[in-house]
């Protein structure tokens, strides 16, 4: 391997901190080509790691979009094994898990609640991204911290040769990007910003002019090449949402992430990456109405040092590393009129890993590793002992820095690939992952008002074991490829609210929760067309997801609220002419699991419903067609400007899909009850204009 290639490797590592795979870049001359090639059928076939989806940013740009905003998370939801949480949610569910069991890393920093406008758009500006990889529970040893998936996203490095800029205006937001050399071939900058102007539209309305509804995000990246062996990258990200109903209520949330990355290549066989990151997620809700004066704020702060060393020894590629994180989490600080209460927790978590990508022979590849995770609950705040009903039986006073409890868990990881000729491969994998930070959501969708908590003396780490088996095949020239993967996942220590409790019931969040188990299993099929004027894919997921929590459903297994049996996505992209690109996506999902009553009765004169089984019914099926057409043209005397018009139609045949279903008493009905479906979006056209230099 030449040093030039190592430097390319550096670019890749810096762009994709957790997942450098040297073989991906062997025959490429530029970073852009690396990324494109990483998605070819052959690359997918050669990937040893199971359950990996690499998101092609160029494909993302062609997807039909809601309100004209390209969205990496919405595109993710078109992949096999990945489901949308709901129409208005920015959350996604992977292989039967909840959205709160996903970890999103941006340049190695943790991002929470990554949705603007309650999830209508994701917080990630597509202009600012270079690549993104989703690990569906099966992951190499250098990654951890989530039981469902890790979504690893990288900010785009600035161009070291030329200056480029672009600007885009959509229906609800505008964005701009600039990049270029600070010193040619030595240092570069990249900056991208996005700001909504929904609030300006609101100001024009008599009814809504005093309301607040805006968001913005900013991505910055500076790259510096010290010499042929050392590179530095500084990344920064900030996103914020502000919502408010006059002076009566407000809801704000933000993410901030800063990282410094140092890549060092010693020789042809060894390189290392060291990263220091800080991230802060905060949320703040207030109500000031009549005699009610409430405020509630929470945050999650990470300070992380991550080091990984890559060593090539013959047919072995070793990845050794460690990660140390100081965590500070405030599950809530609230003021309820005259009452002030706060609950916050500190922890120190460490992980050490070793992973070996070993090419045993021409036919067999193995990626095997182990991640040893230590989670120490730190003192300085109050901890409790609880009885079975969640009442405090003892308050534990601890001193600053005291180790209250330490959990040690080895997490084995294994993926194997057996090559069956040039066109087929079989894959087998096992992965154990643990999760310490989790949002406890009272609804089926992630919300900014969700309270977060982490492993404590009472709450145990969530532990998931997943096995998967898959086949992949491709045609001789790689025009088509096909894959099938089946999985079984078991989760211990998954938590949910006790019946009747909500985020607001008690400040001590452990009092509100009950722990149990979960399991999920399913089959994912995918067929892709990779070449020609018509490209795209069709993905189908058959899945089951169940929970067992003492105190719920008589302690028996019950269907999880995110259970959906069938998900079908069809994505087609057609290059009509040199200038026109057409895209259509169609998704179909069978009904979401829901609880419906089986009987009714009166309490104090009002009719209520009796639920015989948890999530035993199905909502109506969901299906939607989205269309997009883009016209791209180079303009200007030197053709240095590119103008792009993008027209989109969301929900083209105007189907009102189920968002929620409620049961209401209605004396006009012969049964005295009616079931009412609420839908959010009908047909929504959009247009956006982009100018690139």
């Amino acid at each position: 391997m030449k040093l030039k290639h190592l430097l390319l490797c550096a670019s890749f590592v810096l762009a994709l901190p957790g997942t450098a795979q040297v073989e991906d870049i062997e025959h490429e001359d530029s970073l852009q080509e690396v990324i494109v090639n990483a998605h070819s059928a052959r690359k997918r076939m050669n990937e040893v790691q199971m359950g990996v989806e690499k998101i092609e940013i160029t494909t993302l740009a062609k997807m039909p979009v809601l309100f004209g905003e390209k969205d990496i998370i919405k595109s993710l939801q078109l992949l096999p094994g990945v489901k949308s949480e709901g129409e208005t949610s920015g959350g996604y569910q992977v292989r039967g898990g909840k959205a709160t069991q996903n970890l999103i890393l941006l340049d190695g920093a943790s991002i929470y609640n990554s949705g603007h406008l309650m999830g209508i758009f994701s917080s990630f500006n597509d202009d600012a991204l270079i690549n993104a990889t989703l690990y569906k529970g099966m992951m190499p040893a250098e990654l951890g911290g989530a039981t469902s998936s890790v979504f690893d996203i990288s900010t785009r490095p600035g161009n070291m040769q030329e200056y480029h800029a672009s600007g885009s205006i959509g229906l609800l937001a505008a964005k701009a990007m600039a990049e270029g050399p600070i010193k040619k071939d030595r240092a570069s900058f990249f900056v991208a910003a996005r700001r909504s102007y929904v609030d300006l539209l609101l100001k024009a309305s008599k009814d809504f002019k005093n309301n607040t509804l805006n968001f913005y995000d900013l991505n910055v990246r500076l790259d510096y090449k010290l010499n042929d062996k050392h590179r530095l990258a500084l990344t920064a990200f900030h996103s914020r949402d502000n919502m408010g109903l006059e002076d009566l209520m407000s809801l704000k949330w933000d993410n901030t992430a800063v990282g410094l990355n140092w890549f060092h290549a010693a020789n042809d066989h060894y390189f290392a990456n060291t990263r220091l990151t800080y991230s802060n997620y905060g949320s703040d809700a207030t109500i000031d109405m009549m005699s009610t004066h409430y405020s509630m704020a929470g945050f999650i702060r990470h300070l992380t040092l991550h080091r990984e060393d890559h060593l090539t020894l013959g047919s072995h590629q070793l990845n050794l590393g460690l990660e140390s994180t100081l965590l500070h989490l405030q599950s809530a600080e609230w003021n309820i009129n005259l009452l002030h209460q706060r609950e916050h927790r500190k922890a120190w978590t460490n992980a050490f890993w070793m992973n070996d990508d070993w090419k045993i022979c021409r036919l067999l590849d193995v990626s095997a590793g182990v991640r040893l995770r230590l989670f120490s609950v730190l003192g300085g705040v109050s901890y409790y002992q609880l009885d079975d009903n969640g009442n405090i039986t003892e308050t534990l006073t601890t001193s600053n820095g005291e180790f209250v409890k330490t959990y040690v868990h080895p997490e084995p990881r294994l993926s194997m690939k057996l090559q069956l000729g040039a066109k087929h491969s079989l894959k087998l994998g096992y992965s154990r992952t643990t999760q310490d930070i989790r949002a406890i959501s009272g609804t089926t969708q992630s919300m900014p008002i969700d309270r977060y908590t982490m492993t404590s003396n009472i709450l145990l780490p969530e532990i998931a074991d997943q096995v998967a088996f898959g086949w992949m095949g491709m045609t001789t020239d790689g025009t088509y490829d096909f894959s099938a993967e089946t999985y079984y996942k078991h989760i211990n220590n998954t938590y949910d609210y006790r019946d009747g409790k909500s985020f607001y019931s008690e400040i001590e969040i452990e009092r509100l929760l009950l722990g149990g188990r979960g399991r999920a299993y399913g089959l994912e099929l995918c067929a892709r067309k990779n070449k020609g004027r018509l490209t795209g894919w069709m993905s189908y997921t058959l899945s089951w997801s169940e929970n067992k929590i003492p105190g719920i459903n008589d302690g028996k297994w019950y269907t999880a609220p995110n259970d959906r049996r069938h998900d079908l996505n069809i994505v087609s992209m057609f290059q009509l002419t040199k200038h026109w690109d057409l895209t259509a996506t169609w998704r179909y999902t069978t009904g979401q699991a829901m609880s419906a009553p089986s009987a009714k009765y009166e309490i104090d004169g009002t009719t209520y419903y009796y639920y015989a089984e948890r999530n035993g019914y199905r909502a109506p099926a969901y299906h939607r067609l989205d269309l997009s057409a883009s016209h791209t043209k180079r303009i200007g005397k030197r053709k240095k400007l590119t103008r792009i018009w993008t027209f989109g139609v969301y929900n083209a045949y105007n189907r009102y899909n189920p968002f929620s279903i409620s049961f209401v008493n209605d004396m006009d009905k012969p049964t005295g009850t009616k079931a009412e479906q609420t839908s959010i979006y009908g047909i929504l056209p959009s247009v956006s204009f982009t100018l690139k230099y």
């Binding site: 809504f208 009452l339 009765y601 004169g605 009905k669």
Partner: protein, 283 residues
């Protein structure tokens, strides 16, 4: 209140594009379950026993006879008698609850044995009630506000309140069951000023009142409606029951009954106070 208000705020943002429609449901039937609603208050003792009914049955359940229902306090037990005119089991001696006493209810009905206990908290006196309008998004929102004493300010106290209305609106008289509360809720005294609780009950918006749509009428107050407020101090298990009753209806969970034996419902010992009726006038 906080949760409800936040959800209301979120709902306001999605309301711009949302639409509703009625859908067909194929409900699964279950064997009827016993439902017990037992109260010992400073006003008297009453226990109502009914059964659940199928989802397609519009007829409200009547109080069922044939149960052996007893209330016990301080080692003295009294059997309640069934009153056919109301469907309730009532105390023949006119027993009334007393503050600080723990009451135990037992009920034997159709082979089932059910029992529960509850301790009666001190009373809260209603100090004042009034309607207040709040300007809200080029509209006004009507609140029914009341102040009451907080009997034990240094500890967590729980309250149940119910707002009823008497109306002469002919549509309402035909289409709603007036035994149903206009509004009800439970709350606690967290953050309250020492010795004083203030509570606001959201009623309706002025725009909705002016539009007077059929779908909204159940939630609307009309000029001349007479509103009454009942406030009851309750113990924690009763509070948890009503809290989970309200939350569970949205989330598909049944409330956690404080009655042992496998029935639905609750038993509470509570101190009731009532406010003078208020006549609603829009201005």
């Amino acid at each position: 209140m906080m949760k409800k208000t936040l959800y209301m705020m979120l709902a306001a943002f999605v309301a711009l594009t949302a639409c509703k429609k009625e859908i067909e449901m194929d409900y699964r039937e279950v064997e009827p379950l016993v439902m017990i609603e037992g109260r010992v208050t400073n006003e008297g003792v009453s226990v109502l026993i009914t059964c659940t009914r199928n989802m397609d049955d519009p007829v409200r359940g009547k109080g069922l006879a044939g149960a052996d229902v007893r209330i016990e306090a301080d080692g003295v037990s009294e059997q309640l008698l069934y009153d056919p005119s109301t469907g309730y089991y009532l105390s023949p001696s006119g027993m009334k609850g007393q503050t600080g006493k723990t009451y135990r209810m037992t009920a034997d009905f159709e082979g089932g044995h059910y029992e529960a206990s509850s301790t009666m908290p001190p009373p809260s006196d209603i100090i004042s009630t009034q309607f207040n309008w709040l300007d809200f998004m080029n509209d006004r929102m009507l609140f029914f506000c009341f102040e009451a004493t907080d009997p034990l300010p240094d500890q967590l106290n729980y309250y149940w309140c119910r707002m009823d209305r008497q109306t002469t609106n002919p549509w309402l008289l035909e289409h709603i069951d007036l035994t149903e509360a206009y509004r009800w809720g439970v709350f606690d005294n967290r953050g309250a000023a020492p010795g004083l609780i203030i509570h606001d009950i959201m009623c309706m918006t002025e725009n909705n009142a002016e539009k007077d749509k059929e779908d909204d009428r159940k939630r609307l107050l009309y000029d001349g409606d007479i509103v009454t407020l009942t406030l009851m101090t309750i113990d924690q298990p009763t509070f948890e029951y009503f809290k989970s009753l309200s939350a569970g209806q949205r989330g598909g969970a049944n409330p956690k009954s404080n009655i042992e034996g496998g029935c639905l419902g609750y038993f509470t010992a509570g101190n009731v106070s009532r406010a003078n009726p208020v006549v609603y006038h829009p201005d």
